[in-house]
Symmetry: C2
C-alpha cells in the first residue's frame, strides 16, 4: 500500500452508506478528478445491461469527466425505468456536491440483481463522501474496499513511468469474485492516470487492454450485467502523449489491467488455485481464446483441479467441443511440467507426482500446443470447490 | 421392471469382466438381435471422438446389425490408434462368438478418458456374456446396470403399441451422470424395437428424436467424447411401417428418448433437483434452445437452486449473454408459480415462499416468456451442489 502510485489530481473516498446491513462494511465509493479528464469505458456484452452501465455508455467517451460514484451490495440491474432514474439521480447528487454537471459524473453498481437501490441512504452517502475525498493511499484503500462484494481482498495495481521527461502514474483498482465472464465480469475496474491522452486514444487503449486481460479471465463463464472498465486521464502530468510515449503508456495500462484481471481470477469465490491456460499454435488468436475459454469454463476441469486430480481427458474433451476444428494429432498437452498428451497419444506419467503438483501449487499452469498456426492466448481461471457452492447457494436469501 | 416391454428378438447380458476393481460391479453389457436389424446412430458433436464412436460411425446406418457390446469404467477416448484397434477387436470377438461378421457388431464405452482398455479382461467378458444372453427383464436389468458409471440408478423406458394390427415394442435404456452436453452427453442410450423400419427411416427418426430430447438436457454443458444413441429395429413384429403408423412409431420413440433424457438429468451427479426450463416466444425454436441452454449451464443459477435461493437475476443475466437479441421489456419470468419479472420490470414476490418452493419441490420449473415469435423449447438440467464437486474432484485418482 505504501508503494502505490496515486495519479495526480485524483481524490478518493469510500464509506458505509447503508446498502449493506453491516455498518462496518463500506458500500459506497467516490472518486473525482480535480480537473476535467478524458474518459473511456469498456462494458459487458450482456444484452441485459444494468442501469449504471447504460448511463456510462450514454456519456462516454468524454473529454470533461469529473467523477465516478460506485456502490456495492446492489447491482441496480433488471430494475426497469426506476433503476435508470436512480442511476442518473446518483450522478446528479454527486455533481451538485462537486459543482459540475451530472453528465460529467459516471456511476457503477455491483451486487444483487433485481432490487431497487435504497436511494435515501445512497444520496446521503454521496453527500457524506465529498468532504472525505483525499489523494492519499488510505483514501484509495477505502475506495477499493467499498466496491468489493464477495471478494476477500482489495485489488490494486499501480505503475510509475517517465514519458517525454515527465513522471506519469497509473492507478488501477478492481473487484471481481463471481459472475466473471469473460467479456468482462461482475467486474468493476478503474484505471486513473495523470497522463494526457485524448478521449479517442483512451477508447482504443481501453478496448485493446481489456481484450488481452479482462476478456481472458473467467470464473464460471457467466457474463454479468454490470461489467465495467473505466479509464480516466486528467493530464496533470504534462503534455499529450504521442508516438512511442503513447505506446509505452498503453503497455503500462495493459500491465495494470493484467494485474487486476489475474487478481480477480485468483480471488474468485472459493478458489484455491489460480489456473493459467496457455494456448499456442491455432490458426488465429481468437481460435486460441475459444480453446482456452472452453477449458476455463468446464466445471469438470475445475473440480478436477480442486481435487488435485490430473484427469486430463476432461481438458482435451473440453477443447473438442469449443467449435474450433482440429484433429487429435494436432494437440499436445502439459499440466505444469508433466507431458500428458502428445500429438493425439496419451503419455505415461507419474500420476501421484502430478497430483502432488496440483495439491501443493497455488498457481497451476496448463499448456496446450497445436500445430495449426501462430494463434495464441493466455487465459486465467480458478478451480471450483465446495466454497463456490456454499457462497452461491445462499447469496440473496 | 415387471411391466417392461422387451422388443421381440433381442437378448441381453450384463456382467463383471474386470475393468472395474469391484467384482460386484458389472462393467460389460452385450445385446444382440436374433435376426439382422436396421440400425442408426446419433453421436457426440465433440471434435474429440472416442474410438468406439468412430467405429460406430463407420458402420452406420446398417441394414444387418447383429449386436452391440458396451463397457463401462473406461471411455476408450484419447487413446490413439491402439484405442481404435481395441474397439474394432471388441466387435470381432463378439462377432466370432455370435457367428457373424465384425461389421455387424457395434461398440460403446463410457468412463475415464485417456486410458487403454484391459483387453484380456474385456475379451473374456465378451465371450462369457454370449451364453448368458436372454430375452427377459432380468437380463435387460443386468445390461442396463452394466453400462452405468456414477449413475445412482438404471434408466429404462419401454413402450407397447399396436401399429397396423401388430403389437410393436420399444425398449430403451441409457446412462448419464455427468459430462452431459447437450449435443448428447457422456451418455449412452439404446432404443431397440421389433418394428420393421428401414435404415434410412431410422436415421431420420433418431436424429429428430435426439434433437427434442437428449439435445435438450445438460448437466454442466461439457459435451463428452463418447455420446451415443443407437436405434435398432429388427422387424420381428411384422411388415415395414409407413405413413401414419411410422409417425406413431416415431412419437413412441420420442417418448422413450424423452423419458431417458429426463432420467439422466434427474440422476445427474449430486443433483437434488430436476429443473425444467420452458422457453416460449422467441423468433425460432433454435433461439429458444440457446436461451434455455444458457440458463441450464449457468453455475450461478444451479447453485442458487441448490441453495433454495430465488435469485432470479442470475436467470435473466444468463439469458442476456446467450447471443440471442432481445430487450428486457420482451421478457417475463416465473419460478414455479411465482411471477418474478414481467416485461422487464421486477415484481414484488414472497421470497420466503419462493425459497420454500425450491426447498420442498424436487422437480422445479422455470418459465421464460418472450414476445418475439413462436419459437419454443423445453430443456432439462439439475442443480449444482457439494456432491457434484465431491464426485468430480476425485474421479480418476
Amino acid at each position: 500500500m505504501s508503494d502505490w502510485h496515486i495519479a495526480r489530481g485524483f481524490r478518493f473516498a469510500g464509506l458505509h452508506c447503508g446498502i449493506r446491513p453491516d455498518p462496518n462494511r463500506r458500500d459506497l465509493a467516490l472518486m473525482v478528478s480535480d480537473v476535467p479528464a478524458a474518459a473511456a469505458g469498456v462494458f459487458t456484452q450482456n444484452r441485459v445491461r444494468a442501469a449504471p452501465v447504460r448511463v456510462c455508455q450514454e456519456r462516454l467517451p468524454a473529454a470533461d469527466l469529473r467523477g465516478v460514484v460506485i456502490c456495492s451490495g446492489n447491482a441496480n440491474a433488471c430494475t426497469g425505468q426506476r433503476g435508470l432514474d436512480d442511476a442518473r439521480h446518483m450522478t446528479a447528487v454527486a455533481a451538485e456536491a462537486l459543482g459540475c454537471r451530472a453528465e460529467q459524473v459516471l456511476v457503477c453498481s455491483t451486487g444483487v440483481i433485481g432490487r431497487h437501490l435504497p436511494m435515501p441512504q445512497v444520496e446521503s452517502g454521496i453527500r457524506a463522501a465529498v468532504p472525505q475525498l483525499t489523494a492519499d493511499t488510505a483514501a484509495l484503500d477505502a475506495a477499493a474496499r467499498a466496491i468489493l462484494t464477495t471478494d476477500t481482498r482489495i485489488k490494486v495495481s499501480t505503475q510509475l513511468l517517465t514519458l517525454d521527461g515527465a513522471e506519469v502514474r497509473l492507478t488501477g483498482f478492481a473487484k471481481g469474485a463471481a459472475m466473471i465472464g469473460p467479456n468482462m465480469a461482475t467486474m468493476l475496474a478503474f484505471v486513473l492516470t495523470d497522463a494526457a491522452v485524448s478521449p479517442a486514444g483512451l477508447v482504443d487503449i481501453a478496448r485493446r487492454a481489456a481484450a488481452q486481460t479482462f476478456n481472458c479471465v473467467s470464473v464460471e463463464g457467466h457474463t454479468s450485467t454490470n461489467d465495467t472498465l473505466l479509464v480516466l486521464a486528467n493530464g496533470s502530468a504534462g503534455q499529450p502523449l504521442k508516438g512511442r510515449s503513447l505506446t509505452q503508456f498503453e503497455e503500462a495500462a495493459t500491465v495494470v489491467c493484467g494485474d487486476l484481471a489475474r487478481a480477480i481470477a485468483a480471488d474468485a469465490e472459493g478458489a484455491t488455485h489460480l489456473i493459467r491456460i496457455e494456448v499456442k499454435g491455432l490458426r488465429t488468436d481468437e481460435e486460441a481464446r475459444r480453446v482456452a475459454r472452453a477449458v476455463a469454463d468446464s466445471a469438470l476441469v475445475k473440480t478436477a483441479i480442486f481435487g488435485a486430480d490430473p484427469n486430463w481427458g476432461r481438458i482435451v474433451s473440453a477443447v473438442g467441443y469449443c467449435g474450433v476444428e482440429f484433429e487429435e494429432e494436432h494437440l499436445s498437452l502439459w499440466l505444469g511440467d508433466f507431458p500428458l498428451y502428445e500429438s493425439g497419444t496419451p503419455q505415461a506419467f507419474d500420476s501421484a507426482a502430478a497430483s502432488a503438483y496440483l495439491k501443493n501449487t497455488r498457481d497451476i499452469s496448463m499448456r496446450l500446443r497445436f500445430t495449426l498456426g501462430p494463434g495464441r492466448c493466455t487465459f486465467y481461471t480458478c478451480d471450483l470447490g465446495y466454497e463456490y457452492v456454499r457462497l452461491n447457494a445462499d447469496y440473496t436469501t
